[in-house]
């Protein structure tokens, strides 16, 4: 990470996309790629590719381009995907279950260590080798397992209190599926929101916009 300071959010949010396309290319045993070709398959400009990558270092070589595998590895490091932060997931409803079983957390920078719920009917269920624990044991589990991040899949009404508990237990990183505005309450928390209904409303707007033309 030779440069890597004060990178804008616009750039950061493009990194996973570079990572995906480079993984794809690497899987196809493509060895080198120019900013022009990469830009073409990603439907962006070559300028943007070079600008983005140069935020972190000069990974290319004039006259040659970029080594696919090397560049992919650089981005893996920049994102920190092999650090595997110990995490808990809170809320084992439909959404929590889907997130727990659907995501490949290792390889995405996290390690799901525990799942918690307060519903006695789901406590004891298993996802892989993780057992759903009772909500009450949350704090002790966090301490014992050095948990540093939490994935929130609980209903909106429950979020405020749960976030308070997690924050007091030392957690500052939240992957938040609810509409509770965590950054409004805890300024030093790192929050990534997944607002599914916002996404759907945007889709609705765009559909109507198209019709009205």
């Amino acid at each position: 990470m030779s440069k890597g300071n004060n990178i804008s959010m616009s750039v950061i949010r493009r990194l996973p996309r570079y990572y995906r396309f480079l993984s794809e290319l690497d899987g196809q045993n493509v060895e080198r790629i120019s900013s022009n070709k990469l830009a073409e398959i990603m439907h962006i400009t070559a300028s943007q590719v070079r600008q983005d990558l140069n935020c972190f270092g000069g990974f290319g070589q004039q006259g040659y381009g970029y080594g696919v595998k090397a560049l992919k590895d650089e981005i893996t490091n920049i994102l920190g995907l092999n650090l595997n932060h110990p995490a808990v997931l809170i809320g084992f409803g439909n959404l929590g279950k889907a997130v727990a079983s659907h995501m490949n957390f290792n390889g995405l920078g996290f390690d799901l260590k525990g799942i918690f719920d307060k519903d006695i009917n789901v406590i004891g269920s298993k996802v892989g080798n993780i057992i759903v624990n009772c909500d009450i044991d949350l704090e002790s589990f966090i301490e014992q397992n050095n948990i540093d991040s939490a994935f929130l899949c609980i209903p909106k009404q429950a979020v405020k209190e749960t976030v308070a508990r997690l924050y007091n237990a030392g957690i500052r990183t939240f992957w938040n599926f609810s509409h509770f505005d965590i950054t409004g309450t805890y300024e030093d928390a790192i929050v990534e929101n997944v607002h599914l209904s916002d996404s759907l409303m945007t889709l609705c707007y765009r559909m109507n916009e198209k019709i009205n033309k």
Copy 2:
């Protein structure tokens, strides 16, 4: 929708957030709000609030502010939330199940009419009053029910073929949870992507960035 042409994506993506906060205020029986106050609770600038709203019309009144309920209704119309586009969901795995049962589609512009899967073990399952159908009947169902949008919760490998079928059946609106790049193949499709792993990778980056300071 008095003005409403060529609105930038930045503005569009903020609309659901206005909608949420206004719904909240309306639920608390707040009758009027100034751009200043609204900006404060949303953690944005008053200028932005006024600029954004004025893309669509002059909903406020000098010296008074905005009527909460009226403004909320305007945004409902701008987004088209009460049009209820008939939609199908494809893929009833963990993610599809969560999306089908977790989302309140009516009120978000859509009406989930059918769920499809090719796994004989889940065909026949129910979510509310919707039965999971066999994949084979997809085209006839789309025609009979005037389906105009599809929610894709299928594994990456299955997406290309499924999108082709849906596109041929006339569907141009996709809510896409996979990493298949639909706009790469179908230029006239409206696509809203939900890339959960991109979101998680971004969270990972931000965590490491914080640590490295």
